[in-house]
Protein backbone atom coordinates (compact mmCIF):
# COMPACT_ATOMS: atom_id res chain seq x y z
CA UNK A 1 0.00 0.00 0.00
CA UNK A 2 1.30 3.45 -0.80
CA UNK A 3 1.90 6.07 1.88
CA UNK A 4 -0.42 8.69 0.41
CA UNK A 5 -3.13 8.06 2.93
CA UNK A 6 -0.87 7.54 5.92
CA UNK A 7 -2.33 9.58 8.76
CA UNK A 8 0.01 8.69 11.57
CA UNK A 9 3.64 7.59 11.48
CA UNK A 10 5.22 6.37 14.70
CA UNK A 11 8.97 5.83 14.54
CA UNK A 12 10.80 4.12 17.39
CA UNK A 13 8.82 5.88 20.12
CA UNK A 14 10.08 5.56 23.67
CA UNK A 15 8.70 7.04 26.85
CA UNK A 16 10.56 6.97 30.13
CA UNK A 17 8.92 8.18 33.35
CA UNK A 18 11.00 9.25 36.28
CA UNK A 19 9.37 7.85 39.41
CA UNK A 20 11.50 8.99 42.32
CA UNK A 21 14.97 7.49 41.79
CA UNK A 22 13.91 4.80 39.33
CA UNK A 23 13.19 5.11 35.64
CA UNK A 24 10.11 3.38 34.30
CA UNK A 25 10.15 2.52 30.62
CA UNK A 26 6.54 2.73 29.46
CA UNK A 27 7.33 2.56 25.74
CA UNK A 28 10.34 0.75 24.48
CA UNK A 29 10.54 1.63 20.80
CA UNK A 30 7.20 1.49 19.03
CA UNK A 31 7.01 1.91 15.25
CA UNK A 32 3.71 1.77 13.41
CA UNK A 33 1.74 3.47 10.64
CA UNK A 34 -1.97 4.25 10.82
CA UNK A 35 -3.90 5.01 7.65
CA UNK A 36 -6.77 7.31 6.93
CA UNK A 37 -10.08 5.49 7.46
CA UNK A 38 -8.66 2.74 9.67
CA UNK A 39 -10.35 1.34 12.73
CA UNK A 40 -7.43 0.31 14.88
CA UNK A 41 -7.56 -1.41 18.26
CA UNK A 42 -4.64 -0.98 20.61
CA UNK A 43 -4.78 -3.88 23.06
CA UNK A 44 -2.78 -5.17 25.93
CA UNK A 45 -2.89 -5.82 29.65
CA UNK A 46 -2.59 -2.96 32.14
CA UNK A 47 0.95 -1.69 32.39
CA UNK A 48 1.67 -2.65 28.82
CA UNK A 49 2.04 0.99 27.79
CA UNK A 50 -1.21 1.34 25.87
CA UNK A 51 -2.35 4.39 27.85
CA UNK A 52 1.02 6.02 27.31
CA UNK A 53 0.81 5.34 23.60
CA UNK A 54 -2.71 6.75 23.51
CA UNK A 55 -1.60 9.91 25.34
CA UNK A 56 1.21 10.43 22.84
CA UNK A 57 -1.00 9.78 19.80
CA UNK A 58 -3.58 12.12 21.39
CA UNK A 59 -0.95 14.87 21.75
CA UNK A 60 -1.50 15.01 25.51
CA UNK A 61 2.08 13.87 26.09
CA UNK A 62 5.39 13.89 24.25
CA UNK A 63 7.67 10.91 23.60
CA UNK A 64 11.09 10.81 25.27
CA UNK A 65 12.63 9.86 21.93
CA UNK A 66 11.50 8.83 18.48
CA UNK A 67 9.33 10.63 15.94
CA UNK A 68 5.57 11.05 15.70
CA UNK A 69 4.18 12.43 12.44
CA UNK A 70 0.52 13.39 12.25
CA UNK A 71 -0.67 14.39 8.77
CA UNK A 72 2.99 14.69 7.78
CA UNK A 73 3.81 17.13 10.61
CA UNK A 74 6.30 16.18 13.26
CA UNK A 75 4.19 16.93 16.32
CA UNK A 76 6.73 15.36 18.70
CA UNK A 77 8.67 18.64 18.48
CA UNK A 78 5.65 20.86 19.25
CA UNK A 79 5.30 22.90 22.44
CA UNK A 80 2.34 22.80 24.83
CA UNK A 81 0.31 25.47 23.06
CA UNK A 82 0.88 23.96 19.62
CA UNK A 83 -0.17 20.57 20.97
CA UNK A 84 -3.34 22.13 22.40
CA UNK A 85 -4.13 23.49 18.97
CA UNK A 86 -3.55 20.07 17.33
CA UNK A 87 -5.88 18.47 19.91
CA UNK A 88 -8.46 21.12 19.14
CA UNK A 89 -8.33 20.75 15.34
CA UNK A 90 -7.35 17.15 14.57
CA UNK A 91 -8.22 14.89 17.49
CA UNK A 92 -11.44 13.94 19.24
CA UNK A 93 -11.37 12.12 22.57
CA UNK A 94 -13.90 9.66 23.93
CA UNK A 95 -13.24 8.52 27.49
CA UNK A 96 -14.41 5.57 29.53
CA UNK A 97 -16.10 7.82 32.12
CA UNK A 98 -17.54 10.19 29.48
CA UNK A 99 -15.89 13.31 30.96
CA UNK A 100 -18.76 15.65 30.25
CA UNK A 101 -19.20 18.96 32.09
CA UNK A 102 -21.70 18.55 34.92
CA UNK A 103 -24.93 20.57 35.02
CA UNK A 104 -24.46 21.60 31.40
CA UNK A 105 -26.67 20.81 28.41
CA UNK A 106 -25.68 18.27 25.77
CA UNK A 107 -25.53 21.10 23.24
CA UNK A 108 -23.12 23.13 25.38
CA UNK A 109 -20.95 20.08 25.93
CA UNK A 110 -20.84 19.42 22.21
CA UNK A 111 -20.00 23.04 21.44
CA UNK A 112 -17.08 23.11 23.86
CA UNK A 113 -14.20 22.34 21.41
CA UNK A 114 -15.47 24.99 18.99
CA UNK A 115 -15.32 27.63 21.74
CA UNK A 116 -11.56 27.18 21.78
CA UNK A 117 -11.29 27.55 18.01
CA UNK A 118 -11.96 30.63 15.89
CA UNK A 119 -15.33 29.48 14.59
CA UNK A 120 -18.16 32.02 14.94
CA UNK A 121 -20.86 31.49 17.59
CA UNK A 122 -23.52 31.03 14.90
CA UNK A 123 -21.58 28.25 13.15
CA UNK A 124 -20.74 26.74 16.52
CA UNK A 125 -24.37 25.95 17.23
CA UNK A 126 -24.98 24.69 13.71
CA UNK A 127 -22.00 22.30 13.81
CA UNK A 128 -22.92 21.07 17.29
CA UNK A 129 -26.51 20.32 16.21
CA UNK A 130 -25.20 18.41 13.21
CA UNK A 131 -22.83 16.35 15.35
CA UNK A 132 -25.62 15.51 17.80
CA UNK A 133 -27.76 14.40 14.88
CA UNK A 134 -24.96 12.13 13.63
CA UNK A 135 -24.90 10.26 16.96
CA UNK A 136 -28.69 10.04 17.07
CA UNK A 137 -29.38 12.64 19.76
CA UNK A 138 -31.54 15.10 17.84
CA UNK A 139 -34.16 16.59 20.12
CA UNK A 140 -32.06 16.08 23.26
CA UNK A 141 -29.98 19.27 22.87
CA UNK A 142 -31.32 21.01 25.96
CA UNK A 143 -31.10 18.05 28.32
CA UNK A 144 -28.57 18.44 31.08
CA UNK A 145 -25.93 15.75 31.41
CA UNK A 146 -27.35 14.53 34.71
CA UNK A 147 -30.73 13.89 33.05
CA UNK A 148 -29.55 11.39 30.42
CA UNK A 149 -28.48 7.73 30.45
CA UNK A 150 -24.91 6.38 30.25
CA UNK A 151 -25.30 5.42 26.60
CA UNK A 152 -26.59 8.90 25.79
CA UNK A 153 -23.69 10.43 27.71
CA UNK A 154 -21.23 8.49 25.60
CA UNK A 155 -23.07 9.60 22.46
CA UNK A 156 -22.68 13.24 23.61
CA UNK A 157 -18.98 12.55 24.15
CA UNK A 158 -18.71 11.16 20.61
CA UNK A 159 -20.59 14.18 19.23
CA UNK A 160 -18.15 16.43 21.08
CA UNK A 161 -15.23 14.47 19.60
CA UNK A 162 -16.75 14.80 16.13
CA UNK A 163 -17.78 18.42 16.16
CA UNK A 164 -14.58 20.00 14.90
CA UNK A 165 -14.27 17.47 12.10
CA UNK A 166 -11.09 15.81 13.38
CA UNK A 167 -8.68 13.53 11.52
CA UNK A 168 -9.06 10.85 14.15
CA UNK A 169 -11.11 9.86 17.14
CA UNK A 170 -9.29 8.34 20.10
CA UNK A 171 -11.53 6.21 22.28
CA UNK A 172 -10.20 4.96 25.61
CA UNK A 173 -12.31 1.96 26.75
CA UNK A 174 -15.45 3.64 25.39
CA UNK A 175 -17.77 0.86 26.55
CA UNK A 176 -16.08 0.22 29.89
CA UNK A 177 -18.84 1.89 31.92
CA UNK A 178 -21.76 0.63 29.82
CA UNK A 179 -23.79 -2.59 29.76
CA UNK A 180 -23.28 -4.98 26.84
CA UNK A 181 -26.30 -3.89 24.83
CA UNK A 182 -25.56 -0.16 25.16
CA UNK A 183 -21.88 -0.90 24.51
CA UNK A 184 -22.78 -2.60 21.25
CA UNK A 185 -24.87 0.41 20.22
CA UNK A 186 -21.93 2.72 20.88
CA UNK A 187 -19.63 0.47 18.83
CA UNK A 188 -22.20 0.66 16.01
CA UNK A 189 -21.94 4.46 16.16
CA UNK A 190 -18.18 4.20 15.64
CA UNK A 191 -18.53 1.77 12.74
CA UNK A 192 -21.19 3.98 11.20
CA UNK A 193 -19.05 7.11 11.47
CA UNK A 194 -16.10 5.24 10.00
CA UNK A 195 -18.11 3.98 7.06
CA UNK A 196 -20.10 7.12 6.28
CA UNK A 197 -17.68 9.89 7.28
CA UNK A 198 -14.43 8.02 6.73
CA UNK A 199 -13.22 8.98 10.18
CA UNK A 200 -10.17 7.17 11.54
CA UNK A 201 -10.94 5.53 14.89
CA UNK A 202 -8.36 4.32 17.38
CA UNK A 203 -9.76 2.18 20.18
CA UNK A 204 -7.74 1.50 23.30
CA UNK A 205 -9.19 -1.52 25.04
CA UNK A 206 -8.57 -4.88 26.58
CA UNK A 207 -12.03 -6.11 25.57
CA UNK A 208 -11.92 -8.61 22.66
CA UNK A 209 -15.58 -7.86 21.90
CA UNK A 210 -14.81 -4.19 21.33
CA UNK A 211 -11.74 -4.97 19.30
CA UNK A 212 -13.88 -7.14 17.05
CA UNK A 213 -14.99 -4.14 14.97
CA UNK A 214 -11.39 -3.12 14.30
CA UNK A 215 -9.86 -4.02 10.95
CA UNK A 216 -6.42 -3.85 12.54
CA UNK A 217 -5.12 -4.65 15.99
CA UNK A 218 -1.86 -4.19 17.78
CA UNK A 219 -1.02 -5.98 21.02
CA UNK A 220 1.33 -4.24 23.42
CA UNK A 221 3.36 -5.89 26.13
CA UNK A 222 6.09 -4.23 28.22
CA UNK A 223 6.17 -1.20 25.97
CA UNK A 224 6.66 -3.14 22.74
CA UNK A 225 4.33 -4.26 19.94
CA UNK A 226 4.07 -7.96 20.62
CA UNK A 227 2.07 -8.96 17.58
CA UNK A 228 0.08 -7.43 14.76
CA UNK A 229 -3.21 -8.74 13.52
CA UNK A 230 -4.72 -8.11 10.13
CA UNK A 231 -2.15 -5.57 9.15
CA UNK A 232 -0.64 -5.50 5.72
CA UNK A 233 2.51 -3.64 6.73
Amino acid sequence: MDNNNTLIQLEDLTKIYQVGETEVKALNGVSYNIHQGDILAIMGPSGSGKSTLMNIIGCLDKPTSGRYLLDGKEVSTYNKNQLAEIRNKKIGFVFQNFNLLARTTTLENTELPLLYSDISSKKTKEYAMKALELVGLQGREMHKTNQISGGEKQRVAIARALVNNPSLILADEPTGNLDTKTGDEIMDVFVDLNKKQGITVILVTHDQEVARIAQKKIFLRDGLIERLNGDRQ
Binding site: N55, G58, L60, D61, K80, N81, A84, E85, R87, N88, K89, F93, F95, N99, L100, L101, A102, R103, T104, E108, L112, P113, L115, Y116, S117, S121, R160, N164
Partner: protein, 406 residues
Protein backbone atom coordinates in the same frame (compact mmCIF):
# COMPACT_ATOMS: atom_id res chain seq x y z
CA UNK B 1 -10.67 31.93 22.10
CA UNK B 2 -12.05 35.44 22.23
CA UNK B 3 -12.37 37.43 25.43
CA UNK B 4 -16.14 37.68 25.04
CA UNK B 5 -16.44 33.88 24.98
CA UNK B 6 -14.19 33.58 28.01
CA UNK B 7 -16.36 36.06 29.86
CA UNK B 8 -19.48 34.07 28.87
CA UNK B 9 -17.88 30.83 30.09
CA UNK B 10 -16.95 32.50 33.38
CA UNK B 11 -20.49 33.77 33.88
CA UNK B 12 -21.89 30.29 33.21
CA UNK B 13 -19.49 28.73 35.70
CA UNK B 14 -20.46 31.32 38.33
CA UNK B 15 -24.19 30.95 37.73
CA UNK B 16 -23.89 27.20 38.26
CA UNK B 17 -22.92 28.02 41.85
CA UNK B 18 -25.13 31.01 42.58
CA UNK B 19 -25.15 30.77 46.36
CA UNK B 20 -21.42 30.27 46.61
CA UNK B 21 -20.75 33.08 44.15
CA UNK B 22 -22.94 35.43 46.19
CA UNK B 23 -21.29 34.52 49.48
CA UNK B 24 -17.87 35.02 47.92
CA UNK B 25 -18.86 38.40 46.55
CA UNK B 26 -20.39 39.34 49.91
CA UNK B 27 -16.95 40.10 51.32
CA UNK B 28 -16.40 42.61 48.54
CA UNK B 29 -19.96 43.95 48.79
CA UNK B 30 -19.52 44.74 52.47
CA UNK B 31 -15.99 46.04 51.95
CA UNK B 32 -16.90 48.45 49.16
CA UNK B 33 -20.11 49.47 50.92
CA UNK B 34 -18.26 50.17 54.15
CA UNK B 35 -15.53 52.21 52.43
CA UNK B 36 -18.08 54.38 50.62
CA UNK B 37 -20.32 54.86 53.67
CA UNK B 38 -17.42 55.65 56.01
CA UNK B 39 -15.83 58.13 53.63
CA UNK B 40 -19.23 59.76 53.12
CA UNK B 41 -19.49 60.34 56.88
CA UNK B 42 -16.05 61.98 56.97
CA UNK B 43 -16.73 64.08 53.88
CA UNK B 44 -20.15 65.02 55.20
CA UNK B 45 -18.68 66.25 58.47
CA UNK B 46 -16.17 68.35 56.57
CA UNK B 47 -18.76 69.96 54.31
CA UNK B 48 -21.02 70.52 57.30
CA UNK B 49 -18.37 72.39 59.23
CA UNK B 50 -17.29 74.42 56.23
CA UNK B 51 -20.80 75.47 55.34
CA UNK B 52 -21.53 76.50 58.91
CA UNK B 53 -18.46 78.68 58.95
CA UNK B 54 -19.29 80.02 55.52
CA UNK B 55 -22.71 81.05 56.83
CA UNK B 56 -20.90 83.35 59.22
CA UNK B 57 -19.14 85.08 56.33
CA UNK B 58 -15.94 84.07 54.58
CA UNK B 59 -14.58 87.60 54.35
CA UNK B 60 -14.91 87.99 58.09
CA UNK B 61 -11.97 89.14 60.24
CA UNK B 62 -11.67 89.35 63.99
CA UNK B 63 -9.42 91.77 65.79
CA UNK B 64 -8.86 90.83 69.40
CA UNK B 65 -6.47 92.15 72.03
CA UNK B 66 -3.19 90.25 72.25
CA UNK B 67 -1.77 88.65 75.34
CA UNK B 68 -0.69 90.94 78.11
CA UNK B 69 2.95 90.77 78.95
CA UNK B 70 4.05 92.12 82.29
CA UNK B 71 7.77 91.82 83.16
CA UNK B 72 8.21 88.93 80.78
CA UNK B 73 5.16 87.03 81.99
CA UNK B 74 2.58 86.44 79.28
CA UNK B 75 -1.11 86.26 80.00
CA UNK B 76 -3.54 84.48 77.69
CA UNK B 77 -4.99 85.96 74.52
CA UNK B 78 -7.51 88.69 75.18
CA UNK B 79 -6.26 89.47 78.66
CA UNK B 80 -5.25 92.89 77.52
CA UNK B 81 -8.11 95.35 77.24
CA UNK B 82 -6.33 97.65 74.82
CA UNK B 83 -8.72 98.14 71.92
CA UNK B 84 -10.49 101.45 71.68
CA UNK B 85 -13.17 102.96 69.49
CA UNK B 86 -10.49 105.09 67.92
CA UNK B 87 -8.76 101.92 66.71
CA UNK B 88 -11.95 100.77 65.01
CA UNK B 89 -12.43 104.16 63.36
CA UNK B 90 -8.81 104.21 62.19
CA UNK B 91 -9.23 100.78 60.58
CA UNK B 92 -12.34 101.87 58.70
CA UNK B 93 -10.71 105.12 57.57
CA UNK B 94 -7.25 103.95 56.56
CA UNK B 95 -7.68 100.38 55.27
CA UNK B 96 -9.10 100.37 51.76
CA UNK B 97 -9.58 96.57 51.73
CA UNK B 98 -11.97 96.88 54.67
CA UNK B 99 -15.65 97.37 53.98
CA UNK B 100 -17.40 97.40 57.35
CA UNK B 101 -16.33 97.43 60.96
CA UNK B 102 -18.25 96.82 64.12
CA UNK B 103 -16.77 97.31 67.57
CA UNK B 104 -17.94 94.64 69.96
CA UNK B 105 -18.58 94.66 73.65
CA UNK B 106 -19.89 91.27 74.69
CA UNK B 107 -21.26 90.00 77.94
CA UNK B 108 -23.80 87.57 79.35
CA UNK B 109 -26.86 88.64 81.21
CA UNK B 110 -30.21 87.56 82.56
CA UNK B 111 -33.08 88.97 80.53
CA UNK B 112 -36.65 89.26 81.73
CA UNK B 113 -39.98 89.73 80.01
CA UNK B 114 -43.02 89.64 82.27
CA UNK B 115 -42.89 86.28 84.07
CA UNK B 116 -40.28 84.72 81.76
CA UNK B 117 -36.54 85.01 82.04
CA UNK B 118 -33.58 83.70 80.10
CA UNK B 119 -29.80 83.83 80.33
CA UNK B 120 -28.12 84.69 77.07
CA UNK B 121 -25.21 86.33 75.28
CA UNK B 122 -25.44 90.06 74.83
CA UNK B 123 -23.61 91.31 71.76
CA UNK B 124 -22.86 95.00 71.89
CA UNK B 125 -22.27 95.79 68.21
CA UNK B 126 -22.12 98.56 65.69
CA UNK B 127 -24.88 99.19 63.19
CA UNK B 128 -23.02 97.33 60.38
CA UNK B 129 -22.84 94.09 62.30
CA UNK B 130 -25.64 92.31 60.34
CA UNK B 131 -23.78 93.04 57.09
CA UNK B 132 -20.53 91.64 58.49
CA UNK B 133 -22.01 88.46 59.97
CA UNK B 134 -24.62 87.68 57.30
CA UNK B 135 -27.41 88.27 59.75
CA UNK B 136 -30.87 88.68 58.30
CA UNK B 137 -33.59 90.59 60.08
CA UNK B 138 -36.85 88.67 60.18
CA UNK B 139 -39.08 91.32 61.75
CA UNK B 140 -38.52 95.00 62.48
CA UNK B 141 -35.05 96.43 61.89
CA UNK B 142 -31.50 96.64 63.21
CA UNK B 143 -30.41 99.74 65.10
CA UNK B 144 -29.04 102.67 63.11
CA UNK B 145 -25.80 104.60 63.32
CA UNK B 146 -27.48 107.41 65.21
CA UNK B 147 -29.02 104.98 67.70
CA UNK B 148 -25.49 103.65 68.31
CA UNK B 149 -24.02 107.16 68.69
CA UNK B 150 -26.63 108.17 71.19
CA UNK B 151 -26.49 104.81 73.04
CA UNK B 152 -30.20 104.06 72.75
CA UNK B 153 -31.65 101.30 74.89
CA UNK B 154 -32.86 99.24 71.98
CA UNK B 155 -32.22 95.58 71.18
CA UNK B 156 -32.61 92.97 68.47
CA UNK B 157 -33.51 89.45 69.57
CA UNK B 158 -32.09 86.20 68.24
CA UNK B 159 -34.71 83.65 67.17
CA UNK B 160 -33.97 81.40 70.17
CA UNK B 161 -34.37 84.29 72.65
CA UNK B 162 -37.59 85.35 70.95
CA UNK B 163 -38.83 81.77 71.27
CA UNK B 164 -38.03 81.65 74.98
CA UNK B 165 -39.36 85.06 75.95
CA UNK B 166 -42.22 85.53 73.49
CA UNK B 167 -42.94 81.94 72.41
CA UNK B 168 -41.82 82.88 68.89
CA UNK B 169 -44.48 85.57 68.55
CA UNK B 170 -44.17 89.13 67.24
CA UNK B 171 -42.23 90.99 69.90
CA UNK B 172 -41.22 94.21 68.15
CA UNK B 173 -42.13 97.21 70.30
CA UNK B 174 -42.17 95.24 73.58
CA UNK B 175 -39.94 96.19 76.48
CA UNK B 176 -37.60 93.59 78.00
CA UNK B 177 -35.20 94.01 80.88
CA UNK B 178 -31.51 93.25 80.52
CA UNK B 179 -29.76 93.44 83.91
CA UNK B 180 -32.96 95.14 85.07
CA UNK B 181 -32.53 97.93 82.54
CA UNK B 182 -35.47 98.28 80.14
CA UNK B 183 -34.70 97.82 76.41
CA UNK B 184 -37.15 98.22 73.56
CA UNK B 185 -37.23 95.35 71.07
CA UNK B 186 -36.87 96.81 67.56
CA UNK B 187 -36.12 93.67 65.55
CA UNK B 188 -35.94 89.88 65.45
CA UNK B 189 -33.17 87.96 63.69
CA UNK B 190 -33.79 85.16 61.26
CA UNK B 191 -32.68 81.76 62.56
CA UNK B 192 -29.18 80.57 61.48
CA UNK B 193 -28.90 77.12 63.08
CA UNK B 194 -26.21 75.81 65.38
CA UNK B 195 -22.59 76.32 64.38
CA UNK B 196 -20.72 73.08 64.95
CA UNK B 197 -22.63 72.46 68.16
CA UNK B 198 -20.59 74.51 70.61
CA UNK B 199 -22.63 77.68 70.51
CA UNK B 200 -26.01 78.67 69.19
CA UNK B 201 -25.97 81.66 66.88
CA UNK B 202 -29.64 82.24 67.55
CA UNK B 203 -29.27 82.49 71.31
CA UNK B 204 -28.19 86.15 71.38
CA UNK B 205 -29.45 89.67 71.93
CA UNK B 206 -27.79 92.47 69.99
CA UNK B 207 -27.62 95.97 71.49
CA UNK B 208 -25.65 99.05 70.40
CA UNK B 209 -22.08 98.64 71.70
CA UNK B 210 -22.18 102.11 73.20
CA UNK B 211 -25.20 101.11 75.24
CA UNK B 212 -23.45 97.91 76.29
CA UNK B 213 -20.39 99.89 77.38
CA UNK B 214 -22.35 102.36 79.48
CA UNK B 215 -25.21 100.29 80.84
CA UNK B 216 -24.13 96.65 80.88
CA UNK B 217 -20.33 96.48 81.22
CA UNK B 218 -19.53 99.76 82.84
CA UNK B 219 -16.31 100.60 80.95
CA UNK B 220 -16.82 103.39 78.52
CA UNK B 221 -13.35 103.58 77.03
CA UNK B 222 -12.62 99.97 75.96
CA UNK B 223 -14.10 97.57 73.46
CA UNK B 224 -13.54 93.81 73.63
CA UNK B 225 -12.99 93.13 69.94
CA UNK B 226 -13.58 94.51 66.46
CA UNK B 227 -15.41 92.54 63.77
CA UNK B 228 -14.32 93.49 60.28
CA UNK B 229 -15.45 92.45 56.83
CA UNK B 230 -13.09 92.68 53.88
CA UNK B 231 -14.29 94.13 50.59
CA UNK B 232 -14.17 90.67 49.01
CA UNK B 233 -13.15 87.22 50.22
CA UNK B 234 -10.06 87.41 47.97
CA UNK B 235 -8.87 90.59 49.65
CA UNK B 236 -9.12 89.16 53.17
CA UNK B 237 -5.35 88.72 53.47
CA UNK B 238 -4.73 92.24 52.21
CA UNK B 239 -7.19 93.59 54.76
CA UNK B 240 -5.42 91.67 57.53
CA UNK B 241 -2.07 93.21 56.60
CA UNK B 242 -3.53 96.70 56.47
CA UNK B 243 -5.25 96.29 59.85
CA UNK B 244 -1.98 95.14 61.44
CA UNK B 245 -0.15 98.14 60.04
CA UNK B 246 -2.78 100.64 61.24
CA UNK B 247 -3.03 99.12 64.71
CA UNK B 248 0.74 99.09 65.18
CA UNK B 249 0.76 102.83 64.50
CA UNK B 250 -2.32 103.38 66.72
CA UNK B 251 -0.72 101.46 69.58
CA UNK B 252 2.73 103.02 68.96
CA UNK B 253 4.50 99.67 68.73
CA UNK B 254 8.18 99.97 67.95
CA UNK B 255 9.47 98.13 64.85
CA UNK B 256 10.49 94.59 65.81
CA UNK B 257 8.30 94.51 68.91
CA UNK B 258 5.44 92.02 69.23
CA UNK B 259 1.87 92.94 68.28
CA UNK B 260 -0.41 93.54 71.24
CA UNK B 261 -3.42 92.33 69.23
CA UNK B 262 -4.49 89.40 67.05
CA UNK B 263 -6.11 89.43 63.66
CA UNK B 264 -7.68 86.18 62.52
CA UNK B 265 -9.89 85.40 59.57
CA UNK B 266 -12.84 83.04 59.32
CA UNK B 267 -11.50 80.85 56.56
CA UNK B 268 -8.41 80.04 58.68
CA UNK B 269 -10.66 78.96 61.52
CA UNK B 270 -12.91 76.99 59.14
CA UNK B 271 -9.93 75.30 57.56
CA UNK B 272 -8.41 74.15 60.81
CA UNK B 273 -11.79 72.76 61.84
CA UNK B 274 -12.15 70.96 58.48
CA UNK B 275 -8.60 69.67 58.83
CA UNK B 276 -9.55 67.68 61.90
CA UNK B 277 -12.26 65.87 59.92
CA UNK B 278 -9.66 64.72 57.41
CA UNK B 279 -8.11 62.49 60.06
CA UNK B 280 -11.58 61.13 60.76
CA UNK B 281 -12.09 60.34 57.07
CA UNK B 282 -8.75 58.57 56.77
CA UNK B 283 -9.39 56.59 59.93
CA UNK B 284 -12.87 55.46 58.90
CA UNK B 285 -11.79 54.69 55.33
CA UNK B 286 -8.78 52.76 56.60
CA UNK B 287 -10.85 50.55 58.86
CA UNK B 288 -13.31 49.89 56.04
CA UNK B 289 -10.47 49.01 53.62
CA UNK B 290 -9.43 46.20 55.91
CA UNK B 291 -12.79 44.54 55.31
CA UNK B 292 -12.20 44.91 51.58
CA UNK B 293 -8.86 43.16 51.97
CA UNK B 294 -10.49 40.36 53.95
CA UNK B 295 -13.08 40.09 51.17
CA UNK B 296 -10.26 39.68 48.66
CA UNK B 297 -8.73 36.87 50.68
CA UNK B 298 -12.18 35.26 50.71
CA UNK B 299 -12.22 35.37 46.91
CA UNK B 300 -8.79 33.77 46.70
CA UNK B 301 -9.87 31.07 49.13
CA UNK B 302 -13.00 30.20 47.15
CA UNK B 303 -11.13 30.31 43.85
CA UNK B 304 -8.51 27.89 45.19
CA UNK B 305 -11.25 25.52 46.36
CA UNK B 306 -12.97 25.97 43.03
CA UNK B 307 -9.81 25.06 41.10
CA UNK B 308 -9.33 21.88 43.13
CA UNK B 309 -12.97 20.97 42.74
CA UNK B 310 -12.86 21.51 39.00
CA UNK B 311 -9.55 19.82 38.14
CA UNK B 312 -11.51 17.29 36.05
CA UNK B 313 -13.23 20.10 34.16
CA UNK B 314 -9.88 21.77 33.55
CA UNK B 315 -8.55 18.43 32.20
CA UNK B 316 -11.52 18.08 29.86
CA UNK B 317 -11.09 21.62 28.58
CA UNK B 318 -7.37 21.06 28.02
CA UNK B 319 -7.92 17.73 26.23
CA UNK B 320 -10.23 19.38 23.70
CA UNK B 321 -7.81 22.18 22.99
CA UNK B 322 -7.90 24.84 25.71
CA UNK B 323 -4.51 26.51 25.96
CA UNK B 324 -2.86 27.56 29.22
CA UNK B 325 -3.86 31.12 28.52
CA UNK B 326 -7.52 30.14 28.05
CA UNK B 327 -7.67 28.43 31.44
CA UNK B 328 -5.78 31.26 33.14
CA UNK B 329 -8.15 33.83 31.68
CA UNK B 330 -11.26 31.84 32.56
CA UNK B 331 -10.41 31.63 36.25
CA UNK B 332 -9.01 35.15 36.40
CA UNK B 333 -12.16 36.54 34.81
CA UNK B 334 -14.31 34.54 37.22
CA UNK B 335 -12.48 36.23 40.11
CA UNK B 336 -12.74 39.65 38.49
CA UNK B 337 -16.43 39.19 37.68
CA UNK B 338 -17.05 38.19 41.29
CA UNK B 339 -15.27 41.22 42.66
CA UNK B 340 -16.77 43.62 40.12
CA UNK B 341 -20.29 42.40 40.82
CA UNK B 342 -19.44 42.70 44.50
CA UNK B 343 -18.18 46.20 43.74
CA UNK B 344 -21.40 47.22 41.99
CA UNK B 345 -23.61 45.84 44.75
CA UNK B 346 -21.25 47.39 47.30
CA UNK B 347 -21.69 50.83 45.74
CA UNK B 348 -25.44 50.38 46.11
CA UNK B 349 -24.98 49.32 49.71
CA UNK B 350 -22.61 52.21 50.45
CA UNK B 351 -24.82 54.88 48.85
CA UNK B 352 -27.94 53.42 50.45
CA UNK B 353 -26.17 53.04 53.78
CA UNK B 354 -24.98 56.62 53.87
CA UNK B 355 -28.46 57.84 52.93
CA UNK B 356 -29.84 55.84 55.87
CA UNK B 357 -27.18 57.23 58.19
CA UNK B 358 -27.99 60.82 57.30
CA UNK B 359 -31.71 60.08 57.56
CA UNK B 360 -31.68 58.38 60.94
CA UNK B 361 -28.82 60.24 62.64
CA UNK B 362 -27.87 63.92 62.93
CA UNK B 363 -24.74 63.25 60.85
CA UNK B 364 -24.48 64.73 57.40
CA UNK B 365 -23.10 62.31 54.80
CA UNK B 366 -21.70 63.11 51.38
CA UNK B 367 -21.02 60.36 48.85
CA UNK B 368 -18.31 61.63 46.54
CA UNK B 369 -17.76 60.24 43.05
CA UNK B 370 -14.09 59.95 44.00
CA UNK B 371 -14.81 57.53 46.82
CA UNK B 372 -17.02 55.39 44.53
CA UNK B 373 -14.34 55.23 41.85
CA UNK B 374 -11.67 54.53 44.44
CA UNK B 375 -13.61 51.72 46.10
CA UNK B 376 -14.55 50.21 42.74
CA UNK B 377 -11.00 50.25 41.39
CA UNK B 378 -9.81 48.80 44.67
CA UNK B 379 -12.36 45.98 44.34
CA UNK B 380 -11.31 45.26 40.75
CA UNK B 381 -7.64 45.12 41.66
CA UNK B 382 -8.46 42.87 44.60
CA UNK B 383 -10.07 40.52 42.05
CA UNK B 384 -7.03 40.57 39.79
CA UNK B 385 -4.55 40.28 42.64
CA UNK B 386 -6.25 37.49 44.57
CA UNK B 387 -7.58 35.75 41.46
CA UNK B 388 -4.25 35.45 39.72
CA UNK B 389 -2.65 32.81 41.91
CA UNK B 390 -5.53 30.28 41.72
CA UNK B 391 -5.93 30.94 37.98
CA UNK B 392 -2.24 30.34 37.37
CA UNK B 393 -2.38 27.19 39.42
CA UNK B 394 -5.25 25.94 37.26
CA UNK B 395 -3.51 26.77 33.99
CA UNK B 396 -0.32 24.92 35.00
CA UNK B 397 -2.11 21.59 35.52
CA UNK B 398 -1.01 18.67 33.38
CA UNK B 399 -3.94 17.54 31.18
CA UNK B 400 -3.29 13.81 31.75
CA UNK B 401 -3.15 14.15 35.54
CA UNK B 402 -6.16 16.46 35.51
CA UNK B 403 -8.23 13.98 33.47
CA UNK B 404 -7.31 11.15 35.83
CA UNK B 405 -8.07 13.18 38.97
CA UNK B 406 -10.81 11.66 41.10
Amino acid sequence: MTLVRTIKISFKALSRNKMRSFLTALGIIIGVGAVIAMISIGEGAKVDIQSRFASMGTNLLFVRPGSQSFRGRHGGGGTYQNLKEADAEAILERCDAVKYISPSVNTRAQVIYQNKNWNTSIYGTGDKYPLIRNWTIDEGEYFTESQVKTAQKVCVLGAEVNKNLFEGGYSVGQIIRIKKIPFRVIGILKTKGEAGGWFNQDDVIAVPYTTAQRRLVGRTDRISSIDVSAVTAERTQEAMDQIKEVLRIQHKIAPGAEDDFNVRNMSDIAESAAESTKILTILLGGIASISLLVGGIGIMNIMLVSVTERIREIGIRMSIGAKERDILLQFLIEAIVLSLMGGFLGIGLGVGGSALISHFSPMTTLVSIGSIVLAFLFAASVGVFFGFYPARKASKLDPIDALRYE
